[in-house]
Amino acid sequence: MSEQIITPDLGFVKDIIASGGDSVKKCYQCAACTVVCNVTPDSKPFPRKEMIYAQWGLKDKLINNPDIWLCHNCNDCTKYCPRGARPGDIFSAMRRKFIEDNSIPSLMGKVVTQTKMTLLALAIPFILFLAVLGITSHLRIPEGDIVYSKFFPILYIEIIFISAVSLAGIVYLASLVRFWNNMRKSNSQSFSKGFIPALIETLAEFLKHSRFGKCGPNADRRIPHLLVFFAFIGLAITTIWVTYYYYVPKVNTPIPLTDPMKWLANISASALLIGGALLMINRTKNKGFISKSSSFDWTFAIIIMLLCITGILTELIRLAGISTLAYPIYFIHLIFVFYTIVFFPYSKLAHMGYRSLAITYSKMTDRDISA
């Protein structure tokens, strides 16, 4: 075997430090983290090796590394690290850095992943909506019953969102393919399992969130994350359902509260609210170690909560009949909806795809753990 050349990259080390990995240099490679980690495979385990890669700035060894995504941020490692190197936080920082770098276009990656650019990210839908509504002379509070399509016609929403989401979907897919190919290239291993069976196994695992249950100090995250996970699935189904209603039986919004679609929508919204709140509370709880949730994490959590709250308010205020409040809230809600579903390849939500692929890959290469 020819010797690999290790080329330290000071710039990348500084990037990791700037991305919330300020403790990376504290690691002295004792591997206590790897010993206490419950979600690492036995062969070539993490996070010890990633910590030295990060200390030397070995970008190549990190960006195509499935293990970054096998990590569930349980923080057993951070709790037991004798040196305060907080591997959990380093992994979070590396994931953020990866999302940023692997984004298409890369500018969007920067805008969404960097907290200081959040207002700019929110300004995109704001200006877009304002322009559409302004040009079509809809920028006013409509008279009569509160029907949101009178303010923002459904057709406009469909055009804007379907095109934007499709575009986002395509670039996300491209990012995922790139990640997959790089992962395969830099980890030449034989496969013991096909992609489809491995992916099915992975998705089945997600339904139970069993890996979260293996976390030590952070095991409490399983239920809230499960709630949020299913809430998003529920809301996605709702969105498709309402579109179906609109075009096939031609039922107009608002849909009555007695409709099963509305049940699903309201249950999902509540699950998101409760799950999101629990996640945020969990993050502030003392779990016996200090972990720095990055501003990237917090920004995303806050936006999801705002999405959820404005959504619920949109419904409640409509039912209360306060039109002067209802339409502006609806407008704000749409901005957060845009942020969440159009920017997802660049936000924390992007982890869904990367993690699915990483776990699938680990299953294909015999590095699975019994979840």
Binding site: M1, E3, Q4, I5, I6, T7, P8, L10, V13, K14, I17, K25, K26, Y28, Q29, K44, R48, K49, I52, Y53, Q55, W56, R83
Partner: protein, 742 residues
């Protein structure tokens, strides 16, 4: 001095529960006819001490204290101007015997009687103080260690003679660009050495006389009375010296032997010393040797030729921290990286914080690695190849400069190796010796001592030529009284450690001058004012004492009659043990005193009695510890403390056996010069003499198994009672000594 006796018995610490103190008191007053015997419930308490002091005021001057071990409460029971004997009825009796049995009682009574006999026979010591003693300290070596020793002692008011072989003071620190801060470890983690200020301080100090480009060509005499000849620029001068600090430091390991790491093959592979010079000459800029371009990727190979059986097998202790410091030189350019490839990072104590601070620098990159080679990467750059690194597989890094962290070789190593070779050759005969002398170039000696054991301070076997040190008890103790090694000549040290060590050695040297002026021995008997007194009229000039004295304290004149350089003597009594004429005595320790103690032991016909001679530095404390741990020792054994088993005289065995005592057991320290015995090899000498005990046994027609020698170290207290009891069982199997009751 007319002796007025006082016996004091303590009841505290469980003594009263094990021994009938009233009966013991009767032994003192009735059997031993002591006029005064007092009992107290806690003799070491202020009231108990006052009791004794009041009696001293009334004229009591010969005191026997039956209480705890003499190894404890020595400050409380210190009564200057008296003869005081401590009888250990706590550890040796109350704590290691079954309470209130007849056997226990007779053991306590034997110890008390032996103690009383001892003070009856002993005399108050009168210190032997020589005249015209010098208070001047000689410091050999003008590096950071030597200068620190000189300044510390000079500031304490002593005159110093400082000898440096180079034309300027400063030693290795002169070569450094920066040093590690001694206070807080904060960025940038490197500070000026300020060596110039220190050199100036030494040179202008009124108490320090500096000799540069100079060496010690002869060291004659003894502590307080050394005649040291200093040669400098063709001139010689002999100066009276009191004590000596040896601070000759170290030399870097020969990097030419490290060609597997590229040294010699590539100009851009340099040693840590050369790297300092590069940084210092270019004011911090790291310009590499080949093209004087700034090195921006510097690899540091730690333990280069160290912890390696083919080179230096030991760790030089300073290189890990020093390499981190040098990494910070590299990092003065914010774009540069320093790669540290280590076997282990060894930054003990506070230096751990230095390590973590340096490690926090994003451009200081560390990994454990076994460096397997250095190869050409073109343009003057190099690949450093490694295995077993934190990266897992075999990897290499490209560097534009490679720094080898080479280790320290003590300056004493070369003379030591030469002398060891000479000793080995001499053992093979005169011809081999001559061949050795002809074929081997003599190295530069450092102290050139006039000592029958050789011209240099000895080195322990397996100590790689580092100067002698009793590293277990007193790291400053060498086998040359009055000479104290300090700094990296003794063991690898960094600057801060050397300076601390230098101060310690200076104060040890001052203590030596002080003790000698009062006629007190140096360590380990650093309170002792007795000295070996020889009745020369009966000397047969057999030279055994001169041969056996571990400290070269005895020489003989032309007629072969011994004379003492008493300031070299450590009062071990080896000469007393060696003398077949039994003419060497101390005021409180002599063949007669110990013999009388043996004779005072009560030997009932139906009981077994065993005498055990134990050395005071290992066996005695081990027995104390066994007592503290309540280990039971057979009640037939009577321990007699010897300063060193080297003082063991065979006549005592005859005394014991002819009196009917059933067995004799010697307990000394482990053999071998490496075993850190304060008196070097007293135990071995005792064993050698013991080998001749057969004659005595034959004469008495006794079994050879009745006498035995055990070797123990101080920490073997848990095994010792068992070893002793085993011997007792053996003796009991043989049966009673037929001389008993005759």
């Amino acid at each position: 001095m007319e002796k007025k006796f006082g016996v004091y018995l303590c009841k505290g610490c469980g003594i009263e529960e094990a021994i009938d103190i009233e009966r013991l008191s009767t032994i003192a007053t009735k059997d031993m006819k002591m006029s005064l015997c007092r009992i107290h419930s806690a003799l070491c308490a202020p009231e108990g001490i006052q009791l004794i002091k009041d009696d001293i005021k009334e004229g009591v001057n010969t005191i026997v204290i039956g209480a705890c071990s003499p190894r404890v409460k020595f400050e409380e029971f210190d009564f200057p101007g008296t003869i005081t004997e401590r009888v250990n009825i706590r550890e040796f009796v109350a704590w290691s015997q079954h309470p209130k049995t007849d056997d226990t009682q007779s053991l306590a009574s034997d110890y008390l009687i032996m103690g009383i006999v001892r003070v009856q026979k002993g005399e108050p010591p009168e210190p032997n103080i020589l005249e015209d003693l010098s208070n001047t300290l000689l410091v050999v070596g003008g590096g950071i260690t030597g200068m620190t020793s000189a300044l510390e002692a000079a500031n304490a008011g002593y005159k110093i003679v400082l000898v440096e072989k180079e034309p300027q003071l400063g030693g290795f620190v002169n070569k450094l660009y920066k040093k590690i801060p001694t206070g807080e470890f904060k960025e940038p983690l490197i500070v000026d050495t300020d060596i110039d200020k220190m050199i100036k301080e030494v040179e202008i100090h009124p108490n320090i006389q500096v000799y540069k480009s100079a060496k010690v060509s002869k060291t004659d005499g003894q502590p307080g009375l050394y005649d040291v000849t200093i040669s400098s620029n063709g001139n010689s001068e002999t100066i009276k010296i009191g004590a000596i600090v040896l601070a000759t430091g170290w030399k870097p390991y020969d990097a030419n032997k490290l060609d597997h790491l590229g040294y010699g093959r590539f100009k851009n592979v340099v040693t840590n010393i050369e790297f300092e010079e590069i940084a210092r000459k270019n004011n911090g800029k790291i310009l590499r040797p080949t093209d004087r371009k700034e090195a921006k990727k510097v690899a540091f190979i730690l333990c280069a030729g160290q912890r390696d059986p083919n080179h230096l097998p030991y760790c030089s202790a300073m290189c890990c921290t020093n390499s981190l410091k040098q990494a910070k030189y590299v990092r003065q350019n914010p774009d540069s990286v320093a790669m540290i490839l280590y076997k282990d990072i060894r930054t003990p104590g506070r230096l751990e914080y230095y390590y973590s601070e340096a490690q926090n620098d994003p451009g200081v990159m560390l990994t454990k690695a076994e460096v397997t080679g250095v190869t050409n990467a073109g343009n003057g750059n190099l690949y450093v190849e490694m295995e077993n690194s934190f990266f897992g597989e075999k990897v290499k890094v490209e560097a534009d400069l490679v720094v080898l962290a080479i280790g320290m070789v003590p300056s004493t190593r070369e003379p030591q190796e030469y002398l060891d070779g000479l000793t080995a050759a001499s053992a093979k005969g005169d011809e081999a010796k001559k061949a050795y002398l002809d074929s081997t170039p003599a190295p530069e000696f450092i102290l050139n001592l006039s000592y029958r054991q050789g011209p240099e301070i000895p080195s322990l076997e397996g100590a790689y030529g580092f100067a002698d040190s009793n590293f277990i008890c007193f790291q400053y103790e060498t086998r040359r009284t009055g000479i104290y090694s300090a700094g990296a000549v003794k063991q690898p040290m960094n600057i801060a450690e050397s300076q601390e060590d230098a101060a310690g050695a200076a104060f040890k040297a001052i203590q030596c001058i002080d003790h000698i002026s009062k006629g007190i021995a140096m360590h380990p008997r650093a309170w002792d004012t007795t000295f070996p007194d020889v009745y020369l009229l009966r000397c047969t000039a057999c030279k055994r004492c001169t041969e056996e004295c571990p400290f070269g304290a005895i020489d003989e004149d032309e007629k072969g009659i011994p004379y003492y350089k008493i300031n070299r003597c450590r009062r071990c009594g080896t000469c007393m043990g060696s003398c077949p004429e039994r003419i060497v005595s101390f005021k409180d320790y002599s063949v007669d005193i110990i013999g009388s103690m043996i004779k005072s032991i009560d030997v009932p016909e139906e009981e077994f009695r065993i005498v055990s001679f134990v050395c005071e530095n290992d066996a005695y404390p081990a027995l104390d510890t066994a007592g503290i741990n309540r280990k039971t020792i057979d009640s037939s054994v009577r321990f007699i403390s010897l300063r060193c088993l080297g003082g063991m005289n065979l006549v005592w065995v005859a005394d014991a056996l002819s009196k009917g005592i059933d067995g004799v057991l010697l307990i000394g320290c482990k053999f071998g010069e490496n075993y850190q015995c304060h008196f070097v090899k007293g135990s071995e000498l005792a064993d050698y003499r013991f080998g001749k005990v057969g004659e005595t046994l034959d004469r008495l027609r006794l079994e050879a198994e009745r006498v035995k020698m055990l070797q123990v170290s101080i920490n073997e207290y848990d095994k010792l009672p068992e070893m002793i009891n085993e011997f007792v069982e053996k003796v009991k199997e043989i049966g009673h000594n037929p001389f008993k009751g005759l």
